[in-house]
């Protein structure tokens, strides 16, 4: 599989399974055991379950802003699946499928979106960075992690994510350029979901596609059907090993944001049903389910119960954090430095004293 020779200027997209679940490029079909197939499927379904429960909770006022992933599960789960436990995941903010692969637990993910810093305390063994809100700034962290890995003579790979909008930031450029120069073991993933909030692809860049941007940094750039779990796994597996041995790669996962940008967004302001329509048939989940059913690994009537089971699990996770996520006052002050500064200590003391006074006044 000579993907490093892939020429993104030709604007062709790698696809393994088409929208009907047919394998159109058997040579590229990744080797996957039945167990692995089901693991991929379950992770995608789990991701979708979290999405739908979170959206529901948000509507009930029991969650804050939430960024849904609907339609992008193959791009996220396919890339995350290719990582070893010792490899790193460096997300933007819409990589739920990858987070699950890297071991960010559902309760903590929900706690993050519920507005608690503890959600981003992933646990010590997890090689995953927290959400990075300032667009594409995380690409540079990914490069730095890779520089460190390389200096220690280790072989860990870093998978870093941004969106189509993210490619316009200066940090995107600087990160890829550094990666090229230092040959860092980085797989840069662009989830091209066609929009940056309301801004469509045509207002984002005049380049032929996003994969060609790799040429500016002397690295391979590959355009892949982001709604095709097999294409995503195939390319990701290759890219991870290529990065491990050689240096950086750029992957454009061509996909679509089926939902709103976040729960604060109303997409009807900037796109029509006709814009969304063609993508319904391309849903990565339906495609994969057709394949699994054909293969006898899944039965039509198992799907609904599975969804219910996963959603129940998510609700249980939510309930475990709903009432315990309030921030303790001293936590606001405690984590700025290894040792709290006298300034912070004063401010904390003064605030606690105020609260005490206000409390006794109220009595």
């Amino acid at each position: 599989m000579q993907f490093e020779k892939f020429n993104p200027l030709e604007d062709e997209m790698i696809q393994v399974m088409d929208e009907t679940g047919e394998i159109v490029d058997p040579d590229l079909l990744p080797e996957l055991s039945d167990e692995e197939l089901l693991k991929l499927y379950h992770t995608m379904r789990r991701s979708r379950a979290i999405d739908s429960v979170a959206l529901n909770l948000q509507r009930q006022g029991r969650m804050l802003t939430y960024a849904p992933n609907l339609g992008q599960e193959a791009a996220q789960v396919g890339t995350g699946f290719a990582l070893k436990e010792t490899d790193w995941g460096v997300p933007a903010f819409r990589e739920l499928g990858m987070w699950l692969s890297k071991g960010w637990t559902v309760d903590k993910i929900l706690q993050y979106w519920y507005g608690s810093e503890w959600g981003s305390h992933h646990g010590d063994d997890i090689r995953l960075l927290p959400v990075s809100v300032p667009i594409s700034s995380q690409y540079q962290h990914a490069v730095g992690i890779g520089m460190a890995t390389r200096l220690r003579g280790e072989k860990d790979v870093v998978m870093a994510y941004t969106g189509d909008g993210g490619t316009s930031q200066g940090d995107f450029h600087e990160a890829l350029n550094f990666a090229g120069v230092y040959k860092t073991p980085t797989v840069f993933v662009i989830q091209n979901n066609q929009y940056a909030i309301s801004v469509p692809r045509v207002m984002q860049t005049a380049s032929k596609n996003y994969a060609v941007k790799a040429l500016a940094y002397g690295m391979p750039g590959i355009l892949v059907d982001g709604n095709d779990i097999f294409a995503m796994v195939a390319i990701s597996r290759w890219a991870v090993e290529y990065a491990r041995e050689n240096g950086p790669v750029l992957i454009e996962a061509y996909t679509f944001r089926m939902g709103a940008h976040t729960t604060s967004d109303d997409p009807t302001k900037y796109r029509t049903d006709e814009d969304v329509e063609p993508w319904i048939a391309k849903d990565p989940m339906i495609r994969f389910e057709k394949y699994l059913i054909n293969k006898g690994l899944l039965k039509e009537d198992e799907i609904e119960p599975l969804i219910e089971q996963f959603e129940d699990e998510v609700m249980a996770a939510y309930r475990s954090i709903e009432h315990s996520s309030d921030t303790e006052i001293d936590e606001i002050f405690k984590y700025h430095y290894a040792e709290m500064t006298p300034q912070l200590q004063d401010q904390l003391d003064e605030y606690l004293a105020y609260l005490k006074g206000a409390d006794s006044n109220a009595q």
């Binding site: 804050l64 802003t65 519920y114 507005g115 608690s116 810093e117 959400v131 809100v133 300032p134 667009i135 909008g165 993210g166 316009s168 930031q169 200066g170 940090d171 940056a196 909030i197 309301s198 801004v199 207002m203 984002q204 860049t205 604060s264 967004d265 302001k269 900037y270 996520s325 309030d326 921030t327 006052i329 936590e331 606001i332 002050f333 700025h336 500064t341 300034q343 912070l344 401010q347 904390l348 605030y351 105020y354 006074g357 206000a358």
Partner: protein, 324 residues
């Protein structure tokens, strides 16, 4: 039909008025055109004035500000939006190295009539980086003006003044009170002077200086206080600061409390205290005092209630200072 509007509508109306009056005014930024802005501050402008006058950009704050420098050099008055103040930092180099410097660098040959708008401040239960108030940093930059309105009337008058100003203005909009209340505002364009504070309430025992979304909180606190005559000043322009109004007030009251949302240390409160020391030292009957955000990162929503001084805390602080 009275024109009763809230702050975000006032911003929109200011833009609309000026775009109609002045064909060199253009409005752009992320999601500004088709969508009309994530807070809807630019809604309808593209429909009314076309895609040339109000448009979307790629996701790149530095280029938004940097291209505005070029547009201003070449005859336009760009009004660009940073989606949140927390996302202005990629443009920091353009702002400090160019926006604020062009007039001086060229000894007046080139100047930049441009406005950078950004919703700022916390308290809207948002994710990280959506609650910043770092006005003090920008106020420290020579060549820049920093304006923060707190009412629809001021927002409109000051934004139009900012657009007409021959020099660059950073215009920070208190998003916590974007829709908090409505006010009757003239439908047509008008300006208010940049660099002038407003005495919101007269008093002669204690001065409170504040701005932005803290103004209504201070008003609320003061409305609970009958026994101390408090003067409330809405600073409105952070830089250049209206020292006269502050000093005159302190000369009268002898006591000053500064209330702001930003972190305490090296915040704008310190500058106000310095000015009072320099210009009204002998009038002081108590130490100039500040009540501000903590020196911490703005907490995520499960903890944010603790960060911004509440009316009750403001009231307590006023009483404490008055009793000094």
């Amino acid at each position: 039909m009275p024109n009763k509007i809230n702050i975000v509508q006032a911003v929109q109306q200011a833009l609309q008025n000026e775009m109609a009056l002045d064909p060199t005014v253009v409005v752009y930024g992320e999601d500004v055109g088709v969508e009309g802005g994530v807070f809807r501050a630019t809604v309808g402008l593209q429909q009314e004035f076309g895609e040339d006058r109000s448009f979307d950009t790629p996701l790149a704050e530095s280029a938004i500000v940097g291209s505005a420098v070029g547009m201003a050099i070449n005859g336009f008055k760009p009004v660009v939006e940073m989606q949140f103040m927390g996302f202005i930092y990629p443009a920091f180099n353009q702002i400090i190295s160019h926006v604020a410097r062009y007039r001086n660098r060229t000894r007046g040959q080139r100047h930049l009539p441009m406005v950078i708008r950004a919703p700022y401040g916390g308290g809207i239960r948002a994710l990280e980086h959506h609650s910043e108030s770092t006005e003090a940093m920008f106020a420290h930059i020579p060549g820049l003006k920093v304006v923060i309105p707190s009412t629809p009337y001021d927002a409109k008058g000051l934004l139009i003044a900012a657009i007409r100003d021959p020099d660059p203005v950073l215009f920070l909009e208190p998003k916590r009170i974007y829709r908090a209340f409505r006010q009757e505002v003239p439908e047509e364009a008008y300006t208010l002077p940049i660099g002038k504070a407003k005495i919101v309430k007269e008093g002669d025992e204690l001065t409170v200086v504040t701005w932005g979304a803290m103004v209504p909180d201070v008003q609320k606190a003061v409305s609970n206080i009958d026994d101390i005559s408090v003067e409330v000043i809405d600073l409105r322009t952070i830089s250049p600061m209206d020292r006269e109004t502050i000093v005159a007030s302190v000369e009268k009251t002898g006591r000053i409390l500064i209330v702001h949302e930003a972190a305490k240390s090296f915040g704008a409160g310190a500058e106000i205290m310095a000015i009072v020391n320099e210009k009204a030292f002998l009038s002081l009957e108590a130490p100039p005092t500040r009540l501000t955000g903590f020196d911490t990162i703005f907490p995520l929503p499960r903890g944010e209630e603790h960060y911004i001084p509440t009316p009750a805390r403001i009231e307590a602080k006023i009483r404490e200072l008055a009793a000094y």
